[in-house]
């Protein structure tokens, strides 16, 4: 396997039990170098457990994980050196200023004299003015930015963001995503967990969905959207007292004056509108609803339950 073929993250048979709880029930996953990868799932699905095992914060009951080819247990020094993790919790060391923390964090990764990169990180995350401020005096959003900077002090090729925008205002989200996109374009592999599905849809090229410690979907974002969800033609109509059989056969649903008909391809639109007219309906308003990840997420999770 060449260096570029080697997955950034490889998870094989990952199992983690906490007493009777099976947080991970056998996860297999490859994340390619340079990907912007989304790890989605409801609360308790195992996302944070998987990230913690990846980062060496907990040990698997069974299975193995490697980062850039380095096993996170046997070769933990190299594995941790190539990984940057932005934790979900807003944690900070209250004794130090922002710059002190970033210098200390650099030192933990064996880097001294890292001020040029620290200054760049501070500028990119709009923290320059707060460089000498104690962490306790920062707002929640500022602390979140420092967490991101701490994860990046050693320029890791693989960056994991565990719900980085939870409770964060719109401006910071945009700043953060612009910065993370830039890192991804520069070749960094990004793994994102988030409950904001529109963020995952906009950013991630590929997505894995976890439920009850298992991967229930793993595909490119367009395929996930196309696989389980569909477009819908939404019409406001007049002249229908009930749903005609011809439209019911197309899967249409009528609620008061709203008629919704699912379709797979835009080439069907003309035929659908003709069918509506033939059924005696007068079209007053037209809207085309596109599939979204939230819809796909709900369907996949329901499918996994059944």
């Amino acid at each position: 396997m060449s260096l570029t073929d080697m997955p950034a993250i490889r998870v094989r048979g990952a199992v983690k039990h906490f007493a009777d709880v099976h947080a991970l029930a056998g996860v297999d996953l490859d994340i390619r170098q340079g990907e912007f990868f989304g790890l989605l799932g409801p609360n308790g699905a195992g996302k944070t457990t998987l990230i913690s095992a990846l980062a060496g914060l907990l040990r698997l009951t069974d299975g193995a994980i490697s980062v850039m080819g380095h096993d996170v247990v046997r070769d933990y020094r190299r594995a941790r050196a190539v990984l940057g993790v932005v934790p979900q919790e807003l944690v900070f060391d209250p004794f130090f200023s922002v710059r002190e923390l970033l210098r200390i964090q650099s030192g933990y990764f064996g880097i001294r004299g890292n001020d040029d990169w620290i200054d760049e990180l501070l500028a990119s995350l709009d923290l320059t003015a707060k460089a000498d401020t104690n962490m306790r005096q920062l707002s929640g959003g500022m602390k979140r930015r420092v967490l991101v900077a701490q994860a990046l002090v050693h320029k890791p090729p693989v960056i994991v963001l565990d719900e980085p925008t939870a409770g964060v205002d719109v401006e910071l989200r945009q700043t953060l995503w612009a910065f993370i996109r830039k890192l991804n374009e520069a070749g960094h592999t990004i793994v994102l967990t988030t409950h904001y599905l529109e963020e995952a849809e906009a950013l991630c090229g590929r997505i894995a969905m976890l439920k009850a410690g298992r991967v229930v979907a793993l595909d490119s974002t367009p395929n996930i959207l196309g696989r389980v969800s569909h477009h819908a033609l939404k019409l406001r109509v007049a002249g229908l007292s009930g749903l005609p059989a011809a439209l019911a056969a197309l899967g249409a649903v009528l609620q008061a004056d709203s008629l919704e008909i699912p379709f797979a391809s835009h080439s069907q639109l003309e035929g659908l509108l003709a069918a509506v007219r033939e059924a005696g309906a007068e079209v007053l308003e037209v809207e085309i609803a596109t599939p979204d990840l939230e819809q796909a997420f709900v369907q996949i999770m329901q499918g996994a339950s059944s």
Partner: protein
């Protein structure tokens, strides 16, 4: 070779206590000076534990060593429990720092704080009396070993405890009684035979007695026996602490 990661963790641990030095250095120095004033004033002339040594002079090395021990324990244990409860321990667990580097940095920083406070108590005691140092190497050996033992015990307690309450119990029901019953304020020869025997089961007694040998050239027990017991205690605690860290006990799920 000493790694940058180890040096950084050591620096961070020292900077942490130095930033709140009023609480971590000045306050314990003041407490010891108050002990010295009160006990020295009340008992001076009534007790003479060693031949040719006044009670106040006898008390000073005991208080210096007690300060070293208590502050070494406080440094590593409070740093770890605070980091665990705040969640910022993650910043030490994520980087490629080995468990040996982790242990060495926390214990060395604990020794440094113990020595800084002990030095402060000794300097403050010069107001009351001058005690020379008969065997500086012995004195230094027991200061460093005592600091290392309590720093290591602090690592063990800080990892084991899940809340401040548990750490407080460790400190108040184990460290404090063992310190107070170790001969800081008296010579064990002034105790009944039974309590003398009990004192010989307390490793803190040998730390303080060994240090007194370094200061006065006189002690209740042989300095070599004290060294063997204190050194043995350090090795046992170090093995326990390293094992906990290697397995990630209560740190790495």
């Amino acid at each position: 070779m000493i790694s940058v990661a180890f040096r950084t963790l050591l620096y961070k641990e020292m900077l942490r206590f130095w930033k709140v030095s009023f609480q971590t250095v000045a306050a314990p120095v003041l407490t010891s000076v108050l002990y010295l004033m009160i006990f020295g004033h009340v008992l001076e002339g009534r007790l003479q534990p060693f031949e040719g040594v006044s009670y106040t002079s006898f008390l000073i090395p005991g208080l210096v060593m007690m300060s070293v021990l208590q502050n070494a324990f406080a440094n590593s244990s409070s740093s770890l429990i605070q980091s665990k409860i705040n969640g910022n321990i993650i910043f030490v667990l994520l980087p490629p720092i080995s468990y040996r580097e982790f242990y060495a940095a926390y214990v060395l920083a604990a020794i440094v704080r113990g020595v800084v406070v002990g030095l402060g108590v000794w300097l403050a005691s010069l107001i009351f009396t001058w005690t020379g140092v008969a065997h500086p190497l012995w004195a230094l050996t027991f200061v460093l070993l005592g600091g290392a033992i309590l720093g290591t015990l602090g690592v063990v307690a800080g990892i084991w405890a899940d809340k401040f309450d548990q750490l407080g119990a460790f400190q108040n029901f184990l460290i404090m009684p063992l310190t107070m019953l170790s001969g800081v304020f008296y010579s064990i020869h002034s105790l009944p035979a039974f309590w003398q025997q009990i004192s010989h089961l307390n490793p803190f007694f040998f730390m303080i007695d060994g240090f007194r040998y370094g200061v006065f050239g006189q002690s209740d027990a042989s300095p070599w026996l004290s060294l063997a017991i204190v050194g043995g205690a350090w090795l046992v605690l170090t093995a326990l602490s390293l094992q906990m860290l290697r397995r990630g006990y209560k740190l790495r799920g």
